[in-house]
Symmetry: C2
Subunit: 149 residues, 2 copies
Amino acid sequence: MLYTVGEMARAVGIPASTLRYYDQEGLLPFVERSRGGMRMFTDKDREALTVIDCLKKSGLSIREIRAFMAMAAEGDASIERRLALFRARRDAVRQQMADLERTLELLEYKCWYYETARQAGSEEAVRRLSEEQVPPERRAARRRLSCGE
Amino acid sequence: MLYTVGEMARAVGIPASTLRYYDQEGLLPFVERSRGGMRMFTDKDREALTVIDCLKKSGLSIREIRAFMAMAAEGDASIERRLALFRARRDAVRQQMADLERTLELLEYKCWYYETARQAGSEEAVRRLSEEQVPPERRAARRRLSCGE
DNA sequence: ATAGACCTTAAAGTATACTTGAAGTCAAGT
DNA sequence: ACTTGACTTCAAGTATACTTTAAGGTCTAT
């Protein structure tokens, strides 16, 4: 099955203009052309685009993704390096999730804070609460907030 | 305790130039000045900066954070709206974490893929593996990759 | 063969969030 | 008083990743 750039754009949920931009930036060296010059994507290309999108979501820049695609084009000789790259991205995403977990805790603390302030009718009342009057699961975030990071 | 912009920058781990930029953009309407015109941050300001950083990490733009700081400056009248904002950010971060979880699964599949390819000496060998030859915990990601999103 | 949808390239424009540089001022120690 | 480091503002520069526009070519159906 072959797809034009617009069809592939719909299939992977990325604008056609972005696919053209990626091609221009050397991220899609594998894409074939029709006799008239139109890009013809295959199902294997769709798979590659999914990987590109995954790498982007992991925090890689266009430049770094290009370097990866160049490795992929080298074939089996670069397996070791590609493995190292995916392990690094895996670890980076785990770190991002841990960071988001801390952000989430602070947001949950703030939700509790404003829920309580709404009931009390003022923020000041919540600020004056002592440690024991704060739900145990909110105390860590509260301390981070008041005692610096 | 009072801090200059450089001291506060070190305390919260944000460049002084960024703090000045935030001030210029209206994110820090609360910061006082010395007689000579220098910014003087308090511990309460540090707390506000931690919240600003948290909102930024949750995906809010400078413009949106400014709107929030304006609400905060309104006082208790905006408690309800601020609660709504924090709930929305909390939900957004939970969604981000769920998305990262999917990204992580694909990265973990790719790690397995290249580990296996390294042992086999070629990618093609791994590609030819049938579903049952793939570890159960990697199958979902593999299917997403080959059958489209 | 012709219409119309969709494609092509190149270049310029946009958005966001800073960062840097220049010229000058402030604050603290000796 | 003077030096030194850190501060001030304003304007311009940077980085990244697209998006848009213009002029024109391709593909498919009728």
